[in-house]
C-alpha cells in the first residue's frame, strides 16, 4: 500500500473532570503518516500540545494490539472509527485523506461518566462481572486436556463469545446505551461450557440485576452493537441471554 502524509483537522472533546461541562476544541496536525495508528496520531498531537505548553488530551489505551479493550474513542460518529471489527488502536491513518476533519468524542452513556477528555469510567462493567461472570472452583493443577468432553460447536461458540474485550463499544453504539451485548457474551461463554453449569441460573439473574442497577438501557434489537463491535460478537448471544434469563425465571431456584 502506498505511503503518504496528510494534514488533518481534529475536533476533540475536552473536559477537565466529571463535573466540568466540557466542549470541543479544534486542532491541526501536520505530516501525519498513513502508516501511523490512530493513537500514534494522538501521541503526535499530544507532543505538539505539550510543546505549546497546553494540557495533553487524556485517552485510554494499553496494549495497542487490539486485545485489551482499553481504547474507546467515538470517531466521526462510530465507535472505534470506520473500520469493521477494529479497535481504535488498530485503526490506521490510511483510513483518512489529506485535509479530512475528524471528530473524536468519548463514549456517551449514563453508566459511563466521563472522567477526563476522552476517558470514561467503565467500572460498571467490572461490577457486572463481579455479580456472576466467573466460576467458583478450587483451582489446583490444570486438568489434562480433553478431560471434560465438550462439543466442538459449543466450544467454538463459547470461544467466539469469550472474545469480548469489554471495551464498551456496544454501549456507546446502542441508541439505548444498553450493555446487553457485553453481558450476553459473558453469560453465553460460561453457559455453553460444563464448568459454567453449576451457577448457570444464578449467574444470569445476578448479572442482569447488576446491569439494570448500573443505569444501562434495555435492548431493542437494533443490532448496532454487533455492527460496531471490534471483536464481532454476535447478537445471537443476546438471544441466548434472553433464553437463559427466561429459563432462570421459571426454574424456581433460589438465587
Amino acid at each position: 500500500m502506498e505511503h503518504y502524509n496528510m494534514n488533518l483537522t481534529l475536533k476533540v472533546w475536552r473536559q477537565k473532570n466529571a463535573q466540568d461541562k466540557g466542549g470541543f476544541e479544534t486542532y491541526q496536525v501536520k505530516d501525519i503518516s498513513s502508516e501511523m495508528s490512530f493513537l500514534e496520531m494522538f501521541d503526535v498531537l499530544n507532543e505538539q500540545l505539550i510543546n505549546e505548553g497546553k494540557e495533553p488530551i487524556t485517552f485510554d489505551h494499553d496494549c495497542r494490539e487490539g486485545i485489551c479493550g482499553a481504547c474507546s474513542m467515538h470517531i466521526n460518529g462510530q465507535a472505534h472509527g470506520p473500520w469493521a471489527q477494529t479497535t481504535t488502536c488498530q485503526l490506521h491513518m490510511r483510513a483518512y485523506k489529506d485535509g479530512d476533519t475528524i471528530v473524536v468524542e468519548p463514549w456517551r452513556a449514563k453508566a459511563f461518566p466521563v472522567i477526563k477528555d476522552l476517558m470514561v469510567d467503565r467500572r460498571a462493567f467490572d461490577r457486572i462481572i463481579q455479580a456472576g461472570g466467573y466460576i467458583s472452583v478450587d483451582t489446583g493443577n490444570a486438568q489434562d486436556a480433553n478431560n471434560l468432553p465438550i462439543n466442538k460447536d459449543k466450544a467454538d461458540e463459547s470461544f467466539a463469545a469469550a472474545a469480548c474485550i469489554g471495551c464498551g463499544a456496544c454501549v456507546a453504539s446502542c441508541k439505548n446505551s444498553s450493555a446487553m451485548l457485553f453481558l450476553s457474551a459473558k453469560v453465553a461463554h460460561l453457559a455453553l461450557l460444563p464448568q459454567g453449569e453449576p451457577e448457570r441460573m444464578s449467574r444470569v439473574t445476578n448479572m442482569v440485576d447488576q446491569m439494570d442497577k448500573e443505569g444501562f438501557g434495555s435492548c431493542t434489537n437494533t443490532e448496532a452493537c454487533e455492527a460496531e463491535c471490534p471483536k464481532g460478537i454476535s447478537v445471537q448471544n443476546i438471544r441466548r441471554l434472553n433464553s437463559e434469563y427466561i429459563r432462570s425465571v421459571f426454574s424456581g431456584d433460589d438465587k
Binding site: A79, F216, T220, T222, A227, E228, R239, I246
Partner: protein, 203 residues
Amino acid sequence: MGITGVSLIAFLCVHCYVNSLVFINVESFNDAAHFLGTNLLMHIAEVGLFAGIILHIVQGLMLTFQNQKMRPVGYEINPGNKSSKWYSRSMGLLGTLILLFLVLHLWHFWGPNRYNQITTGEEISLYDKMQATFSELWVVIVYILGCIALAYHLLHGFWSAFQTLGLSTSKYRPIIRGIGYAFSIIVPFIFIMMPIAFYMHWV
C-alpha cells in the same frame, strides 16, 4: 413487548384473513364479520386484544422514555444508518403513528358498529360502511400511510419479538427473518388494497 407483539401479530392474521374475503366473496365476509361481532367467545377475545394493545403501548412508551434517559449527553455525530436500520431505531415513532391511525380506524368501523349493537341490537353492514368510508380520498391516503407505518413496524418488530423471547436461534433465525419480511410486506399490502379497491370501485 415480545409477548404482546406476537399476540398482536396473531390478531393481524385473523384481521387480514377476514378482510381479504371481501375480494373473494362478499357473502362470506359478512358471515365472518357477523361471527366476530356477535359470538361471546369473540367478545372475550376482543377484551384480551384491547388489553394486549394497551399493554403494548404502555410498555413501548415506558421503554422509549426510560432508554432516552440513559444517554444524558448525546453525540455530536451520530452513527445514523451506518450500523442499524432507521426503522429499528424508530419503533416508538412508528408505533405512535400506528396508534393515531388506529384511533381513526376504530372510530370508522368498530365504534359505530358496537354503538349500534348496544343502542338498537342490530349490527351495521360493515361492507356498506367500508364503501362509504373509502369514498373519500383523504381517508384512503391516511389508511395507506397507516399501513406503511405498520409495515416498517413489523419489519423490525416481527423478528425482534422472537429474539426477545430467546427463540431466534441460529438455526431458525433465517426462517424467522424470512417469514417476518414476507409478513411485513404481504399483510400491510392486503390492508392497503382494501381502501384502494373501494375507492376505485373494484369491489
